[in-house]
Point group: C2
Chain length 406, copies 2
Amino acid sequence: MKIAVMGGDGFIGWPTALHLSEVGHDVHILDNLSRRWIDTELGVQSLTPMDSIQERTRIWHAETGRRIHFNLIDLGRDYELLKNWLGEHRPDAVIHFAEQRAAPYSMKSDRHKNYTVNNNVSATHNLLNALVELNLDAHLVHLGTMGVYGYSTVGAAIPEGYLPVGITTESGETVSQDILYPANPGSIYHMTKCLDQLLFQFYAKNDALRITDLHQGIVWGTHTAQTRRHEQLVNRFDYDGDYGTVLNRFLIQAAIGYPLTVHGTGGQTRAFIHIQDSVRCIELALKNPPARGSRVEIFNQMTETHRVRDLARMIGDMTGAEIAWLPNPRKEAPENELVVKNDKFLDLGLSPTKLKDGLLSEIVDVAKKYSYRVDRSRVPAVSAWTKDIAAKIVHDPEGRRLKSVS
Amino acid sequence: MKIAVMGGDGFIGWPTALHLSEVGHDVHILDNLSRRWIDTELGVQSLTPMDSIQERTRIWHAETGRRIHFNLIDLGRDYELLKNWLGEHRPDAVIHFAEQRAAPYSMKSDRHKNYTVNNNVSATHNLLNALVELNLDAHLVHLGTMGVYGYSTVGAAIPEGYLPVGITTESGETVSQDILYPANPGSIYHMTKCLDQLLFQFYAKNDALRITDLHQGIVWGTHTAQTRRHEQLVNRFDYDGDYGTVLNRFLIQAAIGYPLTVHGTGGQTRAFIHIQDSVRCIELALKNPPARGSRVEIFNQMTETHRVRDLARMIGDMTGAEIAWLPNPRKEAPENELVVKNDKFLDLGLSPTKLKDGLLSEIVDVAKKYSYRVDRSRVPAVSAWTKDIAAKIVHDPEGRRLKSVS
Ligand SMILES: NC(=O)c1ccc[n+]([C@@H]2O[C@H](COP(=O)([O-])OP(=O)(O)OC[C@H]3O[C@@H](n4cnc5c(N)ncnc54)[C@H](O)[C@@H]3O)[C@@H](O)[C@H]2O)c1
Ligand SMILES: NC(=O)c1ccc[n+]([C@@H]2O[C@H](COP(=O)([O-])OP(=O)(O)OC[C@H]3O[C@@H](n4cnc5c(N)ncnc54)[C@H](O)[C@@H]3O)[C@@H](O)[C@H]2O)c1
């Protein structure tokens, strides 16, 4: 297949491109390299030394004889370039990673809120619009997030995208209907993924586009079979307060001998998946496109859930790190249950790598190995969800949150 | 109150600004005048001769001694201008009409789809973002549409925004929850109003903004008590295939002796409200803001429903016009029921002007009076919802749809 990987220079896009190239597909990356610019803006860098995309694709070719093509295109701003590229190459499938994906970054300031909304909505809509305009029946696989569901409180397991509900009619009978799971996003970033869902629903209905939306948990891990082939093929590892996920920040804190910083009670339950499994899921989704004219196919792409404090304890047990309890910069419930259905990928043959099996290698092969590159001042999460929360949190000169004043 | 009327140069914005000025509020219009540019793009004009906004506000001042201030600001593109204006004036309420509002225009081409999505999402998001950034507790009243509900098929009356549903938990019990009515938009334009809804929900939850969303039916009628005060205060009347609603196009067809063009079986049921009632509803909404911290307040702003073919018959009976049946350029169900709850405005004292009472004056005072200004080639609706539909519809040289080829 000819596959376009939008956002293929990113954390998940890069190993996905390598994997699909290795199994024989003709892979084309489109990326505006905005994440590299954001690294520059924030003064942060990947823990792992990450080469330019041009250099990485050159090394891949030298190692494997295979070509991955790179195109510098902004999906949100360059509609005409995008349309021309799609019209010329007419890919069989398009994988869409090309969005601003950090919740804390999306809440930093009004400028970051606007950037996230405009970038993500335009990128997704331009892509859909161009497919229709070109009459291009490519299977669109999008990376969504578990965060579109919000934090359900009714105690029902989260289904894969659609929720059966009973609606009472005027005559008093109850009719059952499948609806898109009601959205309850917790940040501007998560909200944009809810907007995406409505765009997908409309274009699947009006134009019979074939769309798969993967509601993904937090991706952890760094290496896949392909990124291990050469030091310079290494994947990025974000540990800063904006892009570093809670797990990555714990790993770094453990590696440099800092306490693991837990926000609030640490009772937030999150869903996780290993990068190798994420890549496999995307391949499984590519092999199982929905039929033309059917509703958007939705998978929950996650393999386990954990409370944040349990994660901290797990890493504490493996490394001896202590735990520090800090006020929560996010506006969210202090504790939440999270039961998620993920039968669809398991039925298609996914056999997951679990945290308890993979964490140790992540600590040794990645966090400790590159710990000399850590900039400690960048580890704390400093973006507050509201001005009220921001005003109550006190930081030390290195940006570490000290305590809440009320 | 100091009130900002975003999109106050438009069909509903203008009479709303006049009404609020008359009852003593300090009214400020913000508008980018994009609708006047779109008239130019399409080569169409209001049936009623419409003066510039500067001239209209000058005449209002001459007639009443009251000032309505006008500011040329693009809500979508000029975030900084918007924020500065709001920061300087700190209005008590903001009424938000400033969106591209025609479904056919939104479906014309890929460029029009992008324009509608980008304009509407950015305008709404910039406004919300600026209110939070400025810590401005203004009541935001937004004009949404009945079209966010889509065309329900389960036979339940459409509630005012929130639908009580039963959700079955893992343990087998059914829990009742209020959810935002599941969106099922029928065009790109309607979809943007569904995106708006999610933006409102997020900002009401995260930042406690006070927001009222008015899910409005098709607004008909031209005059209000204020626009009648001077010939040059007249409201706009759109009759072209993009911005003219079905009712306005019937009125014009009747006035110039053309048959009334019904699409498909004419079994589409639509909700209606008179412009004078729309203005009153907005005033009622302003007087009844939600409490800070509560969910988005939603009203259904409509007073009656009719099938398109019944409307055609009503106007045919009054004027002697015949009916012509044409293929439908929209992708929609040929027939739909529409039962809508609107108790909230009725309970607040709204006493509606019904079509059967107001139509005759609309025919005589508006359609016939200005019929010498009609450009007949602009009456037919030519935007098709998909390329397949477009390919099947044959037009005559004046753009009138003749018949479907299959
Ligand atoms: N990393 C996770 O834990 C996780 C979890 C759930 C969902 N996701 C989703 O998966 C996708 C990829 O995530 P990631 O961790 O690889 O993010 P990333 O930031 O590492 O990669 C995103 C890539 O997209 C590019 N991009 C952004 N906007 C673009 C635009 N307008 N035009 C072209 N390219 C653009 C960036 O330059 C970057 O290379 C995102 O959509 C994200 O929301 C990620
Ligand atoms: N007319 C109807 O029947 C109807 C029905 C339901 C809902 N509505 C909604 O009510 C609102 C007003 O409708 P209308 O019929 O008066 O439309 P209109 O097109 O006559 O007026 C909209 C006004 O907003 C301005 N505008 C658009 N984008 C802007 C931007 N980015 N910045 C500043 N100004 C901008 C336009 O120049 C125009 O003056 C719309 O949001 C529409 O969706 C209208």
